[in-house]
């Protein structure tokens, strides 16, 4: 009761011991009532829908008008009526098929009675489906009017210039939202009719199939009915004979006839196709020589080898000189080497190797005067005064 009191029941004012249904509960009951009894199915569908189709695009001046038309005239009125008619059609089709599904279980007299009842239902199905089909035709003219309304909102949105003032920007935002809503309404209406057409198609297919089946069965009722009844008897008989055990599953007595079907098993094995069998040949691909690259590399190598050779010659020469003269002022020879060899790098390497030689040899001393001699100033490479002295 506490739960119900919250949403469904209330105490009438100043009558604490009485209960009344809330507005919400009344709405809920109405909803169930509509669902169960489809009250709108009693409304004339063609007339209701004709009124809806009388809608003129010129009547829509703003988006509120269009919203109002959609919510009250379409969704809340004609749409509900057509859905209720569709529901009642579904009801007829279900009733007819349910009645027919037991038709062949019956004796000939009862079956005749069923067929009579079903034929009345088929008449109702035909009449109702014709009515729904008419509304779908009317919906075409409605669609044209709605298209005009959408175009009206589109033109209004596009009417503002490309370069907008602040006020125009605000207006454009509103126009765009209104256009979007108009498109949304159009889509909902289109979807509604597509859905109605689809459901109607399904119901008519079911009804047509049932009606054709009825004609076929009527031609051969006795035979069909006998087969149907015997299938039921065979099923019951088999259920009586069958047993179940955990080990063997469902089993039937050995004498029970078991049937065979054609069943040739196919195995698909994917094999790689080889042209030849045996050991696969291994092919060695001769690399191609890039002659230009080779030539440039050989030249580079030549230069480097000559450089190393000449460096070694100079180093030996100075080592001898050191033995004889006890002192060398390398700065006096540097530019001379560079000029003779036409390669400053050789002079640098000679200097580097002599320094290394003196550093690792206790008999020699290196003396560096951090002054750049005047002769060095005119050269690209400046050099401190560097002497190697034998102790």
């Amino acid at each position: 009761m506490d739960g119900l009191l919250k949403y469904y029941l209330e105490h009438p004012r100043e009558e604490r011991f009485k209960y009344a249904l809330t507005d919400f509960a009344l709405k809920f009951i109405k909803l169930i009532d509509n669902k169960l009894y489809s009250p709108y199915a009693k409304f004339p569908l063609r007339d209701t829908f004709k009124k809806l189709a009388d809608f003129k695009a010129s009547e829509i001046k703003n988006i509120d008008d269009f919203n109002r038309w959609y919510e009250f005239n379409f969704e809340g009125n004609s749409g509900t009526v057509i859905i209720d008619h569709l529901e009642s059609l579904k009801d007829y089709v279900n009733k007819a098929i349910d009645a027919l599904n037991i038709y062949i279980n019956q004796d000939q007299y009862s079956a005749l009675k069923t067929a009579e009842n079903v034929s009345i239902l088929f008449e109702k199905i035909t009449a109702k489906s014709e009515e729904i089909k008419d509304t779908l035709l009317i919906s075409n003219s409605l669609d044209e009017e709605i298209e005009q309304v959408v175009n009206y909102f589109l033109n209004r949105k596009n009417s503002l210039p490309d370069n907008k003032t602040l006020t125009q920007k605000e207006a454009h935002k509103i126009f765009r939202e209104e256009y979007d809503r108009a498109v949304e309404i159009k889509k909902k209406v289109d979807d509604f009719f597509v859905e109605v057409e689809y459901k109607l198609g399904q119901l008519l297919d079911r009804s047509a199939y049932a009606s054709t089946q009825l004609i076929t069965v009527q031609d051969n009722f006795k035979n069909k009915s006998a087969v149907r009844i015997n299938v039921k008897r065979l099923l019951r008989f088999t259920l009586e004979q069958a047993t179940f055990s955990k080990k063997e599953g469902f089993t039937l007595p050995e004498k029970f006839p078991i049937k065979s079907v054609v069943s040739e098993r196919f195995k698909h094995i994917g094999l790689v196709y080889y042209k030849e069998f045996g050991l696969q040949k291994s092919y060695v691909i001769e690399p191609k020589t890039n002659e230009a690259h080779l030539k440039s590399q050989v030249l580079k190598l030549d230069v480097e080898l000559t450089r190393q050779e000449n460096t070694a010659k100079w180093v030996n020469h100075f080592k001898k000189q050191l033995q004889e003269e006890k002192e060398i002022d390398f700065s006096n020879y540097f530019y001379d080497i560079a000029s003779k060899e036409n390669d400053a790098l050789i002079a640098l390497k000679v200097g580097f190797e002599l320094v290394e030689f003196a550093r690792h040899n206790k008999e020699y001393e290196i003396k560096i005067d951090r002054e750049i001699p005047e002769s060095s100033l005119s050269q690209n490479i400046a050099l401190w005064k560097m002497k190697i002295i034998k102790k």
Partner: protein, 226 residues
């Protein structure tokens, strides 16, 4: 090209030279010899059967000793191959034909019965809820309950339904799907079973035609042998 209505057929294999036969015959042959019943939804194979019915009849008879059969039920045509009455043709070897299992026989009969329950419905859909209803509420409910659950009560645990009903049904449905007797549909919202009964399920009825047509005689004779 000849069709199934044309009696003037060359009794040779020259039709294999036709491009459409070369393109689809291998698939058709595998499907038919696997036991499948072919309906319109297998468009290219169905068309081949329709266009070369007589030539294919000759082919299966000469090379396999089998019959290519065409049947129409509820305005829907289907094709399949079967053994002639007295032999198994070239498929005599036990590995080349298949006895239905006892479980398949039992569930096949339940499905055939369901087919008739929905005889006037164009799409004969079956969901687990329908099987559950059949077991719990049909005239045969006591037999079903004893067989599937070994005890008769109003309802059973979910695990029991799953193990004792859903599992065997699903394994049989997989096989029947291959035979073209049913088509498994996409399962929605945690549904365990959802399929459509196809017209070729009547083939099952044909297998038991003798027992169904003369049920009283069959049952009496059978019981006297036990």
């Amino acid at each position: 090209m000849e069709n199934e209505n044309n009696k003037e057929v060359n009794q040779n294999f020259s039709f294999f030279e036709n491009a459409d036969v070369q393109e689809y015959f291998a698939d058709l042959n595998i499907e038919l010899l696997s036991g499948r019943h072919i309906q319109k939804d297998r468009f290219y194979l169905y068309k081949l059967l329709k266009d070369y019915y007589n030539e294919l009849c000759f082919y299966y008879e000469k090379l396999y000793g089998l019959e290519l059969l065409m049947e129409t039920r509820e305005n829907s045509k289907y094709y399949y191959v079967d053994y002639p009455d007295a032999s198994k043709g070239a498929l005599t070897n036990p590995s080349r034909h298949k006895k239905l299992t006892q479980k398949q026989t039992l569930i096949g009969l339940i499905l055939l019965n369901m087919y008739y329950e929905q005889y006037f419905e164009n799409k004969k859909e079956v969901r687990f809820a329908d099987i559950k209803k059949e077991i719990k509420e049909s005239d045969n409910n006591i037999f079903y309950k004893k067989l599937f659950f070994n005890k008769v009560q109003d309802d059973y645990l979910e695990g029991d339904w799953s193990l004792k009903v859903i599992k065997p049904f699903r394994s049989v449905l997989r096989e029947f799907n291959k035979l073209g007797w049913i088509t498994n549909l996409a399962v929605e919202d945690g549904e365990e079973i959802h399929f459509v009964l196809r017209e070729p399920i009547i083939r099952f009825q044909k297998l038991y035609e003798k027992e169904i047509t003369n049920f009283t005689e069959f049952s009496e004779k059978y019981l006297s042998q036990l």
